[in-house]
Amino acid sequence: MTLDRAAGHPVPLTRRRPSGEPPPLPRPVSAGTRAFLVACALVVPLWLALATDLGTRAVTRTDLAVLDLVARLRTDALVDAAQGVAVLGSLWTFRALAWATLAVLVVTRRFQHLVVALGAFLVVPLVDGIASVWLGRMRPADVTILGEWSGYAHPSRPVALVGLGLTVMLLTLVPAGRWRRRAVAAATGAIALLVAARLLLAVDHPTDAAAGLATGVALPAVAFRLLTPEDVFPVAYRRGARAHLDVGGRRGAAIRTAVARQAGVRVTGVEPFHLGTSAGSTPLRLVSDDGERVLFGKLYASTHMWSDRWYKLARTVRYGALEDERPFNAVRRLVQHEDHMLRVMRFAAVPTPEPYGIVEITPEREYLLLTEFLGGAVHITESEVTGATIDDALAVVRRMWDAGLAHRDIKPGNVLVRDGRVLLIDVAFAELRPTPWRQAVDLANMMLTLALGASPEQVYERALAMFSPAEIGEAFAASRGVTIPSELRSRLRERDDDLIARFCELAPPTPPVAIQRWSVRRVALTLAMLAGAALAVALVAINLRLAGLA
């Protein structure tokens, strides 16, 4: 379906992407990533060779031939300099780099980078440790060793750790572009000097240093490129843009192409819109090339799906089976659900934006949900809350109840007013055939939202026209902490009075509805999480020691 066809206008047909053509925003594995992958992969045959007598003989012969040539360059001055440079390979260098990086990532709250960094700091020393014990390689023989050394020779631990510390620091702390290029050049120089010094002092074989570089530099580089791609998780120090995707550059162009091809609308303007009100997607305002049409888009990526999964898992563990908390297993499902719920809501006469379908940006990774742009609409807190507004808003809840629907995220940011009529937006969490408890919570949250701009007595009186006192009593008996969206909760906290208590006084006394629900699934998930956490702590403790971080 295209926009214009939906609106009844004859428009040129959209172009179907033929089989084999790349999507609007392809995610090919870049040449750099492939090179790093090859470097990692080459380590495996090297290790297999070193695990055999024949392979060891061949590799060692080559290594020693190179070391012999390097040893001929030795002069007193060069050896002194090399011994100075070799200090760079100290465990303290790695500790300083690693702890500084982790501290900055915590302070700047870049948790995706933090998780991958922590993983790299733990996995690389673990892999190197296992390989070194397995191979048990000697230090270079038949040449005098002039430097300090510790442990097995292969892979070179100092080279791997310094490479690891610098690589993670560069990829997580230095913004891409000119500064990163300069930092990469400096880091490459430092690592090259360290490798050269260790070869001159004959504490490493050339293949020891190469394997150290593969595990210490290439492995984390691949991990960061695949798990925190720069265009999804840019290293930036601007505030407020963390949860949202950058819609400039390649992605902006891809969105324009995809919307033109799949929705039949040529857009020129693609700009972020009210980012602060959405944490689960990147809201966009799209303007057609003739400037006459404005669309609203919500860009979803796999990061949003993972946020949704963690959020639901945490809720299940903390509160049990409040309602269906099954996570979405694909971004496509997430965006399809919202598109579907918009259509169901409109069919039930719940005023929501008209959906125009979804646009595929990158298959299984990024999708754009297109809806009408509610021009002229304002948040309910920015509008006068009249008796008519209250009636309209409560009628919306009544219609959802009657149609077997729940919005599940009613808060000031999701209740708009245009021309005196109430509109609901952001139906991503909406549910068909929810629990009665959930519907009651919707009512309580709508009444609390309305009471931010009107008196609770007025809201209660008008609610009685559509809901029985018992239903309102149940709504507030079910309303507490977790059931109130954080935005609404913070607005309630800003007030001097206690709106919830006031509504509870107005409504007939109703015993509180317990929100803790126990089930086998909750117990299993809780135990699994505890076991996972214990395992993670044990792994971290073991590996921090192995990694030299503690």
Partner: protein, 190 residues
């Protein structure tokens, strides 16, 4: 689909925690290997390198460390609450230790008891050209005599000369650099 993935993750983590390289991984067995080679490199010229002949029942290998000042490993019996540490160094201070029957040709063996009761603790020394092996033990009284016997059976001394020949023959590795200064004759600090 999901349970399989979680299962794989759990298996990988369990392997990582349990140490997938095996319980005796890294143990310096008495056979020509680079593991003994690097121990020999840690004390250039040492005539012998300590190694594990075979672990008696109930004994396990605990740790191994090597650097340019020497090598250390630890063994522990399930009848002992503390591990025995075996250290190869260029020199050792035998002090007032008592000479006992030598354990190998060219080796002088000493024993020093630090405590006899309530625990049997002390050191054994194997002193040889350019090197020395110190065994530090601390056993509860009772099984201590058997444990000390088992320790001496478990840990052997591998001759450097033999190791050099076999590394050259098997792996083409020349253990001692050609430009290494000649070895000293004695390392005992009385």
């Amino acid at each position: 689909m999901r349970p399989v993935r979680w299962g794989a993750v759990a298996a990988a983590l369990a392997l990582a925690v349990s140490g997938c390289a095996g319980a005796d991984a890294g143990m310096p067995a008495c056979e020509p290997s680079q593991r003994l080679g690097i121990m020999a490199q840690s004390v250039p010229g040492a005539a012998y390198v300590p190694c594990v002949v075979s672990l008696p029942p109930g004994w396990s290998f605990r740790s191994f460390e090597v650097d340019d000042s020497g090598a250390r490993f630890a063994l522990r019996s399930d009848r002992a609450d503390r591990a025995v540490e075996v250290e190869l160094a260029a020199r050792c201070d035998v002090g007032s230790a008592t000479p006992v029957a030598p354990r190998d040709e060219g080796v002088r063996t000493y024993q020093r008891a630090v405590s006899v009761s309530p625990r049997y603790a002390g050191r054994l020394y194997d002193v040889f050209a350019d090197g020395c092996v110190t065994y530090t033990f601390d056993f509860a009284r009772g099984p201590h005599i058997a444990l000390l016997d088992e320790l001496q059976t478990a840990v052997g001394l591998y001759p450097r000369r033999l190791l050099r020949q076999q590394l050259q023959q098997d792996l083409g590795i020349t253990l001692d650099p050609r430009d290494r200064p000649p070895s000293r004759q004695t390392t005992i600090v009385p």
